[in-house]
Symmetry: C2
Subunit: 344 residues, 2 copies
């Protein structure tokens, strides 16, 4: 009873004609019966539906799409090798596209503009109804090279063209939240260790953090934000520097969870208790890193799934004719874990 994939070609799939024949009606009637159109007697409709089921009829979406002028598919182009960002976005999008109505082509451009271009062409040829472009890093990226005749939504990384539709997470707000959380935990001497300084998002997070600090009447511990790279090693190194410069620090806001892991490591090594002596908060809420840390890492969640859902909604709206454009920032949220337990 295994799948009976006939060699080369398989036995023709059952078509509406087959159903109509079995039900003893015309294909037009069969179509209307199956699609819930009105002009069919209840009894006839039942007969058709029964026939369709018996034959395991599944309408040919290609033919349908050809006729309708829209395929019911969208393309999702990513450059995110790890799938760290794309998969949640994809899942959110799948959610939003009420299951079954829309399917998603996932293409990985691997950061290569040529390959991206190529995928766009292929997808256009498949008549996707829209495109979601997920960038490799949160900074603005050049818009798609080709002029495409279908709606495009940029997710995670906005398009450089403000006339495009972009959905990103609010890095400023996220930075603010991180500090507000630390302040709420009673911290006063808060430092910030971030990553690659070429990332605009990193500076956004710092800006949010500074705003929140200012409002709390505090200054950045360590004198300034520490920029380096998005690695644990940098987190460790920067923490060591920081402890030397400002031994009284009682909280560290890390620019990513990877950095936060390094921070935790270095603090541990220096004999500082977390969160007793120093509280630590990360960014991204990458579960596998955050939950396995010791102690479990509080982190700012950038809500990728939601981002995907919103991107899909905006794409849908655009497909249906909405003409809204611009960059939309989605709020982050703090997921509190053991690394920032409030002081007693």
């Amino acid at each position: 009873m295994a799948s009976q994939a006939g060699p080369a070609g398989a036995s023709k799939a059952t078509t509406l004609t087959d159903v109509a024949r079995l039900a003893g009606v015309s294909i037009a009637t069969a179509s209307k019966a199956l699609n819930g159109r009105a002009q069919v007697k209840a009894e006839t409709r039942a007969r058709v539906i029964d026939a369709a089921e018996r034959l395991q009829f599944s309408p040919n979406a290609l033919a349908r799409g050809l006729l309708a002028g829209r395929s019911g598919t969208v393309g999702l182009i990513t450059s995110d090798l790890e799938g760290r960002f794309s998969i949640p976005v994809l899942m959110g999008a799948e959610d939003a596209f009420g299951s079954g109505q829309t399917s998603v082509f996932l293409c990985d451009a691997r950061g290569d503009a040529i390959r991206e271009q190529h995928h766009v062409r292929a997808l256009l040829s498949r008549r996707v109804d829209g495109l979601i472009v997920v960038g490799a890093r949160p900074d603005p990226r050049p818009p798609l090279a080709a002029e495409v005749p279908i709606p495009v939504v940029y997710a995670y990384a906005p398009s450089e063209d403000p006339g495009d539709v972009s959905i990103v997470s609010d890095n400023v707000g996220g930075g603010r939240m991180a500090v507000e959380h630390l302040v709420a935990c009673g911290r006063q001497r808060i430092a910030h260790i971030s990553g690659d300084p070429t990332y605009g998002a990193a500076h956004d997070r710092e800006r949010g953090a500074l705003e929140a600090l200012g409002e709390a009447g505090l200054a950045l511990a360590g004198g300034r934000a520490y920029y380096g790279s998005w690695s644990e090693a940098w987190g460790r190194g920067a923490t060591r520097m920081l402890l030397e410069r400002d031994p009284d620090v009682d909280a560290i806001f890390a620019g990513s969870d990877q950095i936060a892991r390094g921070v935790l490591d270095a603090l541990h090594e220096a004999g500082r208790d977390v969160p007793g002596d120093v509280a630590v908060i990360g960014f991204d809420n990458w579960e596998v890193l955050a939950t396995n840390a010791r102690p479990p890492l509080t982190s700012v969640d950038i809500n990728l799934e939601h981002l995907g859902r919103v991107a899909a909604q905006r794409l849908f709206a655009a497909i249906d004719g909405s003409t809204r454009s611009g960059t939309e920032s989605l709020p982050c949220r703090v997921v509190a874990r053991g690394s920032t337990t409030p002081l007693d």
Copy 2:
């Protein structure tokens, strides 16, 4: 000059008819010219190609698929929330499907059989030419619920039905390699800390390890393999237990990179030098964990991208009528890093 997505519907895409008209030939001739068919004079062909370019013609894959009976698409159904496994597999598959010829629908079933079923139906309706099913864990999984009329290849997790086509990584071989590597590094007292004992793959890895140990005339340090969960916390705890039971251990083979991270942590805490006193090897070669570890973690790579490539090839073969079936194991490879430097 932004994309000019007309509200609802956009201006009709250019069709072969347009090209034919501009070139002053019939659509039949235009088709033949563009597809490299023989019966067209060189000069006519050039004229058609020129017209197609001028009009930015891109053939409607829906129409083509409708006619050809195959859509040039495949479905990839996964349940791997993180995308940890699916994305590399997808990339491998994309590679194998010589770019442009085949596009991939990616669907996430989220471990839910109902949702999986649903996706299968949707994909069938879209007339995908084949299906790749990527499991959530490496153990055998039930075959697709529905009887599908197209070829299916199971990747990462094999189907329980030996009559299906499955591509998996060779866990026994991987376990063997891990130990062989440690032995090659001069280690004699090798322990094994693995994860969730309900994972058959974990036992496969142990089996391979035991084989290699036997051939080297060694026994497992710690008396037996330690099973627990796939977490850093377990890696730490098990290491502490191990050190108590068998303080002379000079190498630890961890069942996953996450566990290995915990192992490194605990060893560090216990004052053992890695790799000086104890060498550590992980499994999966999850870059973000392995390269950021201190020291960088040697790990057994399960070659997911290759797995995806092979899966795609097998699927292609099946689509073209090949009838081969059964489970195929792909070899792993050791990626040596700082945690296992040979003893001097």
